[in-house]
Symmetry: C2
Subunit: 431 residues, 2 copies
């Protein structure tokens, strides 16, 4: 991975990082790196995520899906139990004969449509929940089981489970002899893309898991106590330093359709890890070149509260634009879509710089298994670093518990004071 | 449309609107409403958008697509030339036999995959560009034409154009006798969903255009000089008032998969209209219930710089959750996915209120043509109102011109100083 922070310096942008501040920042990075290395060595909760490339056993994943030859793999999970898989399969499996879908919401109309459209007898279901009790995931799984039964398909022959050591889903897998993989110990869901949580659908699509993990391992090997030596830390440190200087929004804008879900995965990583104690950059999901026609006006002329993170492959397959006799468009004819999107990227990056708006350029060589593994690993390391610099509890998400208890109480799943509060809503209705 | 601003009041939230400030705000709304009404009456640029429900001729749209019986409609457009159509077809056409896709980026790999997968002989192409010169759109159209020719399909028999009075696309339509519709006069792209720009694919899917426009007209009829009488203005005024009090981010979170593109459409509307002069709320696209497992931690415990806008249907088709013998999940059995997503919504809304974070609840009766027409119209009216209150030039997007010139220069489409600036990039590379 290659990170260019030139347009985030104070000479170019406001907010921006003064060159003189880079030394102080680098000292903070050195301290944080020591803490992270210690956490990794001790396998501490959360830090253990950065050991996944060497700890994940791709052979175990391949064994769990052995013998399946599906047309479709359906992930049943939510949040970190779905986004990693969606990101990997969108980036790497688009040309596979196996399609990947995720049932990661509890919208009845959507579930109806999806289950009505899928060839259930040729579908493999991957159910993912660490606790085995996630309400949305288990409800969806019950619905999927029933749809399969209604279609005369034996769900016990077509289900793979990834879950923790204990819990209802583990018990279910044991009872029915389902192929079952472990969620990785000490790794929060949003950091688990490079484990069985993210790898099962990719494996069914024929993605090269070894290359993917090798990319992650290259990221691990590159961790070093200075931001000038480690692209992951360069990104994390600059994002955090800009946040401290007022860039409280981080718009992630990949210039590749296949990386659109990456921005969504990043948004969870960043929001749940850093959004606490009244701080944390707000991630915004964007897409180049499309959002030049939607968000660029704001990024260039709105508040000076944004960092734009460009993510782009340096090489991509191309497609020529035919020559044309259409007036005024002759300049496009004989060019290619790749040249056009590259020009759009360069123009947009420069247009922000010309307006003094900070951006960072993150580059992959190309969208392949090794580079995508590296990208995900490096962004996780960047996030852990930013969490250290911000002195937050990176690996927890305490603020979501209130709502979970309230929802459970509303559904009659126990006595929870939170459910009472829901009923006290203050109304001011205009209709 | 029903708007509940109870959780945006200062008694409930920080930032929040003190009850005493509502009167002042309402005076500003009255003044802005007069300005808007005058603009509408004079058909002024931009304000004319709010006349579309009565000005759009659904019969002309139906005539333009008469005789086509496609399996797929493909929109070739970008930004406001695509997002409205995508929003309408996702919300209203999901059960149609006609699929809708948009080619709204210039990613060669994506174009290859999409054109390789589409049944081109059963596809109708809708090309949309007001100027007829939008580089991305015209490049894509040239590529689509060639793909059709390669597949032995006569593109002149399967193309509908929406464009302005003049320009290359109009000339092309005239030359080949293509069905051609006008982009509405005086209406910026992002405000054109309820015109031929947004309606053509919906018409091909059999969406009830009359009901859609009637919904928009109901929004027009409801415009009034007080926020307590007009839900559109209630929403726009509260969003703007919260922006002025520090809620500089507006996270739009529909609780319906079919409204996911609505959040994207809203993001363009809000960003391009209000993101200028160093101000403007940053729109963030979210999705309930999924993003409770991704963004909620940040919304509840991060900076107090966010308004969360919930959008939900009060009724929806439902699907039961089967009874289960799975331990710990008995409370879900016999419930429904609809009850679950409703409980999740209520719990999430209350969880933000309990943490003193402002939110607004926008409700439709159901996701149907009339209510979706109303939703889009009311959000446009809300945006125009917010623009008046913020005293910005709501209907222009001057900040995107720099990049357009730079890209054109880079591609050899003329001599532009901006292209030179691109070559002067400051680098600070870590790899």
């Amino acid at each position: 991975m290659r990170v260019d922070i030139g347009n985030a310096l104070a000479t170019e942008a406001d907010p921006g990082i003064p060159e003189g501040a880079l030394d102080d920042l680098d000292e903070r990075v050195a301290g944080a790196h020591e803490r992270i290395a210690r956490g990794r060595a001790d396998g501490e909760f959360g830090y253990a995520a950065l050991n996944l490339p060497e700890r994940t056993d791709p052979a175990a994943v391949r064994r769990a899906v052995e013998g399946f030859d599906p047309a479709v793999v359906l992930t049943v999970g939510i949040g970190g139990s779905a986004l990693g898989a969606v990101t990997l399969t969108a980036a790497l499996g688009a040309d596979s004969a196996v399609d990947h879908y995720a049932l990661d919401n509890v919208d009845p109309a959507h579930a109806d449509r999806l289950l009505g459209a899928l060839p259930l007898s040729e579908t493999v279901v991957h159910v993912v929940s660490r606790s085995g009790t996630t309400a949305e995931t288990l409800a969806n799984f019950l619905v999927v089981r029933e749809a399969m039964a209604d279609a005369g398909v034996d769900w016990t022959e077509r289900t793979v489970v990834t879950t923790g050591d204990e819990g209802p889903l583990r018990a279910l897998a044991d009872r029915h002899g389902l192929p079952a993989l472990d969620t990785p110990a000490g790794v929060p869901g949003r950091f688990s893309a490079l484990s069985s949580v993210g790898l099962v659908p990719a494996a069914l699509q024929g993605v090269d898991l070894d290359a993917l993990l090798a990319g992650g391992q290259a990221g691990a090997d590159a961790l070093a106590g200075s931001l000038t030596e480690c692209p992951a830390y360069a990104y994390g440190a600059v994002a955090q330093a800009l946040d401290e200087r007022g860039a409280t929004i981080n718009a992630v804008m990949p210039y590749a359709e296949s990386l659109e879900p990456f921005a969504e995965w990043f948004a969870q990583l960043w929001a749940e890890s850093l959004g606490k104690d009244g701080g944390g950059q707000t991630p915004v999901r964007a897409l180049g070149a499309t959002d030049q026609h939607s968000q660029l006006q704001l990024y260039r002329a709105g508040r000076r509260d944004k960092l734009v993170t460009f993510v782009r492959p340096r090489e991509r397959p191309d497609r020529p634009i035919p020559e044309t006799d259409v007036d005024d468009l002759a300049y496009l004819g004989g060019e290619s879509l790749g040249a056009l999107i590259d020009a759009e990227f360069a123009a947009t990056e420069a247009s922000l710089a010309a307006a003094g708006r900070p951006s960072v350029r993150v580059e992959l060589d190309r969208v392949d298994a090794e580079d995508v593994g590296r990208l995900l690993y490096d962004m996780e390391a960047a996030c852990v670093l930013a969490g250290e610099l911000a002195e937050v509890s990176t690996f927890t998400q305490p603020a979501v518990e209130w709502g979970k208890r309230a929802a459970r109480g509303l559904l009659g799943g126990g006595d929870f004071a939170e459910a009472e509060a829901v009923r006290d809503k203050t109304e001011f209705v205009v209709e």
